[in-house]
Amino acid sequence: MNLKSTTSSISDFFYARPKLKYYLPQALTIFFIVFIFGYFSYNAQVNMDNRGIDFGLRFLGEESSFDIQFTPFVEYDGTKSYATAYLVGLINTIIVALIGIFFATILGVVIGISRLSPNYLIAKMSEIYIEIFRNVPLLLQLFFWYFAVLRTLPLPKDAVNFYDISFLSIKGLYVPRFIWTNGQLFLTSIIASIIVIFFLLKFFKKEQEQTGKQYPKFLISLTIITVLPFLTFLIGGVSLDFEYPELKQLSKTIYNFKGGISIIPELMALALALSLYTATFIAENVRAGIEGISRGQKEAAASIGLTPGQTLKLVVMPQALRIIIPPTTNQYLNLTKNSSLAAAIAYPDLVLVFAGTALMQTGRAIEIISITMLSYLSLSITISIFMNWYNKKIAIKEK
């Protein structure tokens, strides 16, 4: 009885003062948040003072004095600053994320479609694949590929040989390096042909809508994109050379490959594990997307005379994509976040390089971890914003 009367008197109190009811909880929330942050900052300040650590981002400009084993695209060695090390880590993360996304998408789409195949064996195999790779933790899969599989590769001397062009050994996969002369010309020619194709396609589409005339779009685009860059080879002075990896003997038993591009086993294991794992989720999304298209659509398309191939291309896929793409973008985001598992094997991504080595050398835990978290947060938010924009764009507009 007493509790009921107090609660009702409290609610009466607030009912009579709507403004208070509106502002008080918010004020309390703000106060609570400020209190928590203030308490933490105060403690952090006190602790750091006691230890003689000073807070600040000044350390970013200091010399890092450690090397990183995989630094494509950036000139890096121990004399560069921690900020450069951060950049290298970030780029490495993006590299493995892109590779993972690429393979995961291809594999996921293939498996998703196979799952729906009328062929019983294929469908069953896809289902088994999905069930196996989805229910084992990603970290375990990563450890398996790295420690149990890639470690059993042979030494460079007995490397697996692919026609003497590329080699696979315990130290990594070595592929030839492209050496361009006048590479910019080649690149501009590709960009130019893409622009030309884009405008050409727009023109074709307009023509088709107005006159119903169809042009062999695919053939024409293909010709342009192959001929134009090819021309640069003939008359533009562009040439392509290859630098092949060669086995060099460093001692009686130590061999290593020199030249070419080396893809370290850590990167391979990480990309492999990420792709196989994320492909299962993408496969399920693809399956849900294609199954989500009502049968009526396929039947209606058949009734107006579209072939199965055309049905797939013009009717089913556009609608299926609408269902598939949002959760798949979510999976891309998960893949990027999961790439932080590189810290558990020796792949120098952002977490290992910055929140690992740099953290241990400088001891600036708060700054470094905050920067790392903010980096991932920015990536996530960027992808989320893109996804929201895409969703709005393809949303079916009710007439």
């Binding site: 948040i33 403690n43 064996l121 084992v136």
Partner: protein, 420 residues
């Protein structure tokens, strides 16, 4: 062109002849592969290398072509054709699958079971052809219980048995007792479990959290994180739908922050950064910090799942409750949340499965759960070189749990879909 060579085209007239020919050819191809992979006998070795490789494929393909008779009248054959053999593309795919299976499965089974060592106690008894399961048997207590002292393992067992027992009884009793069981599970059981496992009171030896490990630690972390992330997630979901802008944006900010960062950075934050935020005297055990971090992390995902459930409720429920004069909290506690939670149960199950799969990450901050213990075992100088057995074992354990849980959640989803 194939159609013109009528003798190559199967038809209903010479049904039995074609079927016989087809089966013989198909069988030949299979036989060749089987002999090759199981017994290393190569019956076509007189052919050049690549032809030798493809003969089984060729034979079986032609065999399947012969069997492909539409509407033959034999039900089994028609079923087979529809499923595996509907056209030549499917036939090739099926054959590839069958051959890959024939080539890999015997080897796999050999390694896993037939050549493996199950009996024995020392490393020397591992012959090396197959898996050395002795390694697992030797270390199994460590894998299950971590570095927990052997004499006190009964305490962990007691805690888990109590949990399982309570959950099972919850299935068999009526709804009234169920409520009490849930309250017991949510509020009283954690205290009992912590006292049992950690010790220090009631005459039990104190075991510090650094010694907890193995699969029991995985479960402890998952269950506690799940228990705590549920109310936090609920508050966040309600906060996100609140009409107070401050509360709403604070919830959105909190949720998006935790969803946007990887779990590893959250764990680093908990183990390295968080102690700086506490005053010097206060020392929070590493396991407690990690559980808090994982709880907050999963609460953000849980909040989204619950929000989905709240959104799925028809607005009529809200209107009806308000028309009955219910306040915000009464409405939510009595009407909205029970219904919303019922809808979200599959989502909750999925979140728990995801949480369970995320717990191995705690090994990067030094808490040795199952995979961490396997790493420790495989680095032991006496037992070097058994990484594969360890990881296969861990994979099997995790797979069994996750698969069962996901099947169960799929069943729930189906059940609740039809319910509404």
């Amino acid at each position: 062109m194939m159609k013109k060579l009528t003798f190559l085209n199967p038809s209903r007239e010479n049904l039995n002849l074609f079927i016989l020919a087809g089966i013989v050819l198909f069988g030949l191809g299979i036989l060749d592969t089987v002999l090759n992979s199981l017994f290393e006998i190569n019956i076509t070795s007189f052919l050049p290398r690549w032809l030798n490789y493809f003969t089984p494929l060729l034979f079986s393909f032609i065999g399947l072509h012969y069997i492909r008779i539409e509407f033959s009248g034999i039900t089994k054959l028609d079923q087979l054709n529809k499923n595996i053999n509907s056209n030549w593309f499917n036939a090739i795919l099926s054959l590839l699958v069958i051959f890959i299976l024939i080539k890999t499965i015997p080897g796999l089974l050999n390694w896993l079971f037939f050549d493996a060592n199950f009996i024995g106690t020392t490393k020397e008894e591992c012959t090396g052809d197959g898996a050395c399961w002795l390694f697992i048997r030797f270390w199994i207590t460590r894998f299950m219980y971590g570095l927990y002292p052997d004499a006190e393992i009964w305490r962990i067992n007691a805690a888990f048995l109590m949990l399982i027992g309570t959950v099972i009884t919850a299935f068999f009793v009526g709804p009234k007792i169920k409520k009490y069981i849930i309250i017991f599970l949510l509020f009283i059981f954690p205290f009992i479990a912590i006292n049992l496992i950690s010790g220090g009171n009631f005459g039990l030896v104190w075991v510090e959290t650094g010694a907890w490990g193995g699969l029991s630690l995985t479960f402890i972390v998952s269950i506690f994180a799940m228990l705590f992330c549920f109310p936090v997630g609920m508050f966040l979901a309600l906060g996100r739908r609140s009409s107070y802008p401050v509360v709403k944006y604070a919830s959105i900010g909190f949720i998006e922050f935790w969803r946007g960062v990887p779990l590893i950075t959250v764990l680093f934050m908990a183990s390295v950064m968080f102690p700086m935020f506490l005053p010097d005297e206060v020392f929070m055990d590493k396991l407690v910090r990690v559980i808090i971090a994982i709880t907050l992390f999963e609460a953000a995902y849980m909040a989204e799942v619950i929000r989905g459930g709240l959104q799925a409720l028809p607005k009529g429920q809200y209107d009806a409750s308000k028309s009955l004069g219910m306040g915000y909290w009464t409405m939510h506690l009595l009407i909205i949340l029970p219904q919303a939670l019922k809808i979200t149960i599959p989502g909750l199950a999925n979140t728990f499965i995801a949480l369970f799969k995320d717990t191995p990450l705690i090994l990067v901050v030094g808490l040795l759960e199952l995979i961490g213990m396997i790493d420790m075992a495989k680095a032991n100088p006496y037992w070097l070189g058994f990484a594969i057995e360890g990881y296969v074992f861990a994979g099997a354990v995790y797979w069994i749990f996750c698969f069962s849980m996901s099947r169960y959640s799929q069943n729930l989803e189906r059940k609740y879909k039809t319910d509404r």
